[in-house]
């Protein structure tokens, strides 16, 4: 006995559209992959440049010491930035 042939879609039948949650899931996965790639690029760039700009920017404003307290090894004063 032979097995019946697989059912073929009717020529006029429409392809089923993905639902909104499926589309959200698809876009989310693409966005997460993109985020990881961008993060990797930023991380690699910070390693290449010694991480100085990122380290300086990552410091909160109030943490920088006054001019009298700065030693030779103290980091450069943080530049102003806003979120």
């Amino acid at each position: 006995m032979t097995s019946p042939p697989p059912a073929r879609p009717r020529p006029g039948a429409r392809a089923r559209r993905p639902s909104l949650p499926a589309t959200v899931l698809r876009v989310t996965s693409a966005a997460l992959v993109a985020t990881v790639l961008v993060w990797s690029a930023l991380f690699a760039n910070s390693l290449r440049t010694g991480g100085e700009p990122a380290a300086v920017l990552a410091q909160p404003f109030d943490r920088s010491a006054g001019p009298d307290d700065q030693s030779d090894t103290a980091p450069a004063p943080a530049t102003t930035h806003a979120s």
Binding site: R17, P18, L20, T23, V24, R26, V27, T28, A31, A34, T35, V36, V38, W39, L42, F43, S46, G51, P53, A54, A55, L57, A58, Q59, P60, H81, A82, S83
Partner: protein, 177 residues
């Protein structure tokens, strides 16, 4: 928590912000394409609407994560970014309550999306660590240019559509007096 943690959070926030502004631009492009009927074809509008909604929702998630990671970093200042994020949330939410607020109010509110988009771009350029780097400016130009073009096309005066011929049985002729 190691010494490298702030940098990791800072970079994660930057990465999330960059992807968020890309996705926001795509969402605005899809919305303008849908409103201006730039892409035609069977089922095209429904497809555009689905992707417009999906990209908007994911953008909101990315914006929330972008701000949330900055909180972990111990640094968050409520400025353009935070204001823009809240406005984006309110405008997106208005879509789901348009039955109650009415389509006219919703349409009026939805036009403010472009203002939020401009706020987001100002936030990227003015406050972003990479905001003024050449690659970011090139990326923003590539993202914004199609939207400006689509908006200009939408604002151009369009030729009036030809009136549809009425079917003869649509309205009975007025009785002669």
């Amino acid at each position: 928590v190691t010494a490298a943690s702030p940098q990791i959070f800072w970079m994660a926030s930057r990465a999330l912000g960059i992807v968020a502004v890309v996705l926001l631009s795509i969402s605005v492009s899809l919305g303008l394409a849908m409103a201006g009927r730039l892409l035609r074809g069977p089922g095209r509008t429904a497809q555009l609407k689905r992707y417009h909604e999906a990209t908007t929702l994911v953008t909101l998630g990315l914006i929330a994560a972008h701000g949330g990671v900055l909180l972990l970093d111990g640094y968050l200042r409520p400025r353009l970014g935070v204001i823009g994020g809240w406005l984006a949330l309110i405008l997106t939410g208005s879509f789901y309550v348009r039955r109650w607020i009415g389509p006219k109010t919703w349409r009026w509110l939805h036009r403010w999306t472009l203002a939020v988009y401009v706020l987001a771009l100002a936030h990227v350029i003015g406050a972003g660590t990479d905001g003024r780097s050449p690659w970011m400016l090139a990326l923003l130009t590539a993202l914004v240019a199609p939207n400006v073009l689509a908006l200009a096309l939408r604002m151009l005066p369009t030729a009036p559509r030809p009136a549809r011929p009425r079917p003869p049985s649509a309205r009975p002729p007025a009785p002669a007096r």
